[in-house]
């Protein structure tokens, strides 16, 4: 297919490294693993650069591959839930509580305890601000499944936040 847009690999890395790294980090909860995944995603992009048709296509492609590689990595490591965050603190010395908002830190921890499909839907919804239709296209999942995962994930996160952060719930 003929297209005028000429991809510049270095520029694509500059523009999207934060997005790819953040997606991998929120999916795996491990900074080292997330960086490894992000590097692999960009090298895969380099191998497929000829197929990329436009800037939005590059962004869509990177999101999809980052989510797929993160899911693969999680399955390989068989690591789930909050232990990831404990491991993250142990291995990388990063205190999640060091964030500006304690509620934010707690929400990051709670996100890691959600089932993987719900976590994926919520990350794409609130980090990338995608619509359910765009999330369905990115995850190659039926729209109804994505909507259900969003609803259930949000409900579960609210419930967990309610348990851990009663003072916050009372305040809102």
């Amino acid at each position: 297919m003929a297209h005028d847009w000429q991809p510049d690999f270095e520029q694509l890395v500059d523009e999207h490294q934060s997005m790819v790294f953040s997606l991998a980090l929120r999916m795996t909860g491990d900074r080292g693993l997330a960086e490894e995944i992000a590097q692999d995603v960009f090298l895969e992009l380099d191998r497929n650069l000829g197929k990329i048709e436009s800037q939005p296509h590059a962004c869509f492609w990177l999101r999809r591959v980052a989510m797929n590689r993160s899911t693969d990595a999680l399955r390989r490591r068989r690591v789930h839930g909050i232990n990831l965050w404990v491991e993250m603190e142990d291995r990388h010395g990063i205190k999640v509580e060091e964030r500006a908002s304690p509620l934010g830190a707690r929400l990051e921890q709670l996100l890691a305890t959600l089932p993987e499909p719900q976590r994926a839907a919520l990350v794409l919804r609130y980090q990338e601000e995608l619509t359910p239709e765009e999330i369905a296209a990115t995850l190659e999942a039926p729209l109804a499944t994505v909507k259900s995962n969003l609803q259930r994930g949000l409900k579960l996160l609210r419930a967990k936040a309610g348990v851990y952060l009663k003072e916050y719930i009372r305040g809102t």
């Binding site: 270095e10 790294f21 953040s22 619509t131 609803q151």
Partner: protein, 110 residues
């Protein structure tokens, strides 16, 4: 799920889940790995080319061998036909000679 206006909890989620900066040096590592993988991809290309040529040579040899066998069979069949024709001619000549001898024998007796 309809895209309803976000409530406070969702707004907090959006703020919390902002993109985080990539680790310093990640881009450098990507570019370094890219430089390493480039010559390897050239080597893979040459390997594939060499394998394709070898495969083409083997296939060419098989085709050539088949053609050679078929040609040998055709030549054999042509030689057989020539021998049969020669035998038919000889047979015809001998019959003719036989008839002449028989006619000569009868003339002598008379």
């Amino acid at each position: 799920m309809e895209l309803e206006p976000m409530d406070d909890f969702e707004k907090e989620l959006r703020q919390t889940f902002e993109r985080q900066p990539a680790p310093p040096g990640m881009k450098g590592k990507i570019m370094a790995r890219r430089r390493v993988s480039e010559p390897r991809s050239h080597a893979v290309l040459w390997q594939r080319l060499a394998a394709s040529l070898a495969l083409a040579a083997v296939l060419g040899g098989v085709v050539e061998w088949n053609w050679h066998l078929r040609e040998e069979r055709r030549k054999g069949e042509a030689a057989r036909q020539q021998v049969l024709t020669a035998l038919r001619i000889t047979n015809h000549a001998l019959n003719h000679m036989n008839k002449q001898l028989a006619a000569h024998g009868r003339a002598v007796q008379e």
